[in-house]
């Protein structure tokens, strides 16, 4: 990609090191959380969305509109379109099935929740509160 930032203040991204250079030095864990806690955040957010869907099934249309817009914006990225298409199919199911998926602890449900089209259903302050609770929870063995 060329420098699209000439004459403006948008930073340019330079890729400067490979994994061989860093692998011995850098190890990671998710946002100060255990890996399972990362999944728990998604599950907690999913359950809150599912609760709202019980009383506001029209939120399925909201999610569908997100997917339509995202698909337009990212039409040059087939891998993203694949994620969106999978959820388009899911949203065609009865709303109770969608709610069940948002609350399920199966591996497949966890994978799908990470690509959730329900972004924007929960207010940012509520999302932040859920994440903060997990980020700052005492570590357990």
């Amino acid at each position: 990609m060329g420098n699209i930032c000439e004459g403006c203040d948008i930073p340019v991204v330079k890729w400067v090191a490979d994994d061989g250079f860093l692998a011995d030095d850098i190890q990671v864990k998710s946002a100060n959380m255990k890996h399972s806690e990362t999944d728990q955040v998604s599950l907690k957010l999913g359950r809150r969305v599912a609760e709202r869907l019980r009383w506001q099934p029209e939120l399925v249309a909201f999610a569908r509109a997100n997917l339509v817009r995202w698909s337009q914006q990212n039409k040059s990225a087939p891998s993203l379109l694949r994620c969106y298409a999978e959820w388009q199919e899911i949203l065609a199911r009865p709303v109770d099935e969608v709610r069940d998926l948002l609350c399920s602890e199966s591996d497949d449900a966890q994978r799908l929740r990470q690509n959730s089209p329900f972004a924007g259903v929960l207010p940012p302050a509520e999302v932040w509160e859920v994440k903060s609770r997990f980020h700052h929870a005492p570590a357990t063995a």
Binding site: N3, L22, Q27, P78, A119
Partner: protein, 101 residues
């Protein structure tokens, strides 16, 4: 996601945190070495990144452009703030700079 979306996330993280170096980890790190990596390796709308400057940056990234954020709703992809700790993973370093710097 593709490299275009990942670079957007990195630029956004720069704007939010002021940091200029980020480590990309997990499946999307392959985009550092292979910008045209096969789609099969990139089927995710999230990228795991962290700043080398301050561990607190990672909570900021997760809260501001993470799952369920307005950034996620607007663009259809998001960052997952991660930090140094346990468990190795594929990594790549991205450095941002402003034009002329």
């Amino acid at each position: 996601m593709h490299r275009q979306q990942l670079e957007h996330i990195i630029r956004a993280a720069t704007g939010i945190t002021g940091a200029s170096e980020f480590i990309i980890v997990g499946s999307q790190a392959v985009l550092g070495q292979f910008p045209q990596a096969p789609d099969e390796l990139l089927v995710s709308i999230e990228a795991d990144i962290f700043s080398l400057r301050d561990p607190a940056d990672n909570d900021l990234i997760d809260g501001s452009i993470g799952e369920g954020s307005p950034f996620h709703q607007t663009f259809g992809y998001y960052a997952h703030g991660v930090s140094r700790g346990n468990g190795g993973s594929a990594v790549w370093l991205a450095r941002t700079s402003h034009s002329g710097s």
